[in-house]
Chain length 267, copies 2
């Protein structure tokens, strides 16, 4: 098996990989960076192999790492060993994980989604926090959703932070990105119930008449959903707000609602 | 009303306030920093006034800001006007909010908690992410919990990130900090059901026999709860995990469980 070693910070491959921490470069290259054996194993099991696999010199051996290396090399990927300090520079961490990979982004158009494939889908509109976005992907996996649909100007789902927060779900959940005026006609072109938490003519979220395929939508962290988005919903539900605040963290609201939909559809 | 102006970066008060972004200094001074008119208004309404109120020169006027300034000055607080670039330096943001305040920390011992005051309480063990911790406080407010109890080595609840993520709930929710070997005897010294999500001899979280006052506990983001903590619970519950992962984000798990407890206790 061919494995090369790079020891210089100024090596073009090192510079290239490092540049992927920056959104501008990810956009141009359509590639992104994921770190850690667990995440990369999730990727492999989800059918995604890195184009470049970086392994730290002096790392501890692991059967899963061996499998990853073999699979990457067999698929024609570039397997590279680097000193720990270069990996630290690339990942921006003092204590980098022993392995990182560069992946090609994939098609995230709505056309890739088969709505009947799952009883529910999560939808996030203008979500700005990468931790929230990754958490939504992780929740989608947990509730057996088909995936996550990102509307309008969301944070980059392929950012290092979002990938990390997804705990591997970025590789296993369907991910689509669309504008609202593209999403709504697509949704109305087939079966699908659009649901959002709202204060406008809403029914209690417990026991609401959810129907599959159910699209659970949450809005921007600061502004919530635009009014016309809420009015376009088939079902608006309220969750108890017993305290002073009138809203939950967006990823939390999506999860509480998604678990309720799951229980309702399975009950 | 007395309001002073500071224009120099090297002013001792500016340096002091800025130092509170660092945990070490917060520990020593027992003071913390909160930013934004909304947060500071939540604080005022929750009975907490800043010892130092910083306002940006050239800010837009606002009735709530006037009230805040008056209340702070009446309580003997220090009201200071600073150029925007100093406020940016203090808060570490390019676009700082127009107002920030320095607050004295308060007593967070278990003795401050009256368990009968609320039907449920949230408990977080060794929570490391300030966003998660703040989100737990926000959720506690929303579900009408009494507050949040932090066990063992949690991230500082008075960090700027945690305070921000709490959306003001840091000022209105009860907050306690304790070690497990202090918490458990305290809990057993009165009524209280300890509940955690677990895979060990657990019952489904829907319809589980929750009882007030119910203490909903979540564990560390990476390791979950220690086994003996789980075994000490009165009730262990499982949530559906339909996908590849075996866990949720800690703040999400706590929220889904807390909303279930709320529905159960109210139903």
């Amino acid at each position: 098996m061919f494995r090369r070693t790079i020891t210089g910070f100024s090596n073009p491959t090192v510079k290239f990989v490092r540049s992927l921490r920056d959104k501008k470069h990810r956009r141009r290259e359509r590639k992104f960076l994921a770190e850690g054996l667990r995440l990369l194993t999730d990727a492999r099991e989800g059918g995604r192999l890195p184009e470049i696999l970086l392994m730290a010199q002096g790392r501890e051996g692991h059967p899963l790492l061996d499998e990853l290396e073999q699979a990457t090399a067999s698929a024609g990927g570039d397997v590279i060993e680097v000193p720990v300090d270069i990996l630290a520079k690339i990942t921006g961490k003092d204590n980098p994980q022993a392995v990182a990979g560069v992946f090609a982004e994939w098609d995230t158009s709505l056309a890739t989604i088969t709505r009947e494939a799952a009883p529910l889908w999560l939808v996030a509109q203008a979500m700005r926090d990468p931790g929230n976005l990754g958490t939504m992907l992780r929740t989608a996996d947990a509730v057996g959703a088909g995936g996550l649909i990102l509307l309008d100007d969301c944070v980059d789902p392929f950012s290092v932070e979002a990938v990390r927060a997804s705990m591997g779900a970025i590789f296993t959940q369907h991910l689509a990105q669309a504008r609202w005026d593209e999403f709504l006609p697509w949704l109305r072109g087939g079966a699908g119930q659009l649901v959002a938490a709202s204060l406008r003519e809403a029914v209690p979220y417990r026991g609401a008449p959810y129907a599959a395929p159910c699209f659970v939508m949450v809005g921007n962290e600061s502004r919530g959903l635009p009014e016309d988005y809420e009015l376009a919903c088939d079902l608006r539900v309220t969750m108890p707000m017993k305290g002073r605040a009138d809203s939950l963290n967006a990823a939390v609201a999506g999860a509480v609602l998604a678990y309720e939909v799951l229980a309702s559809l399975e009950g």
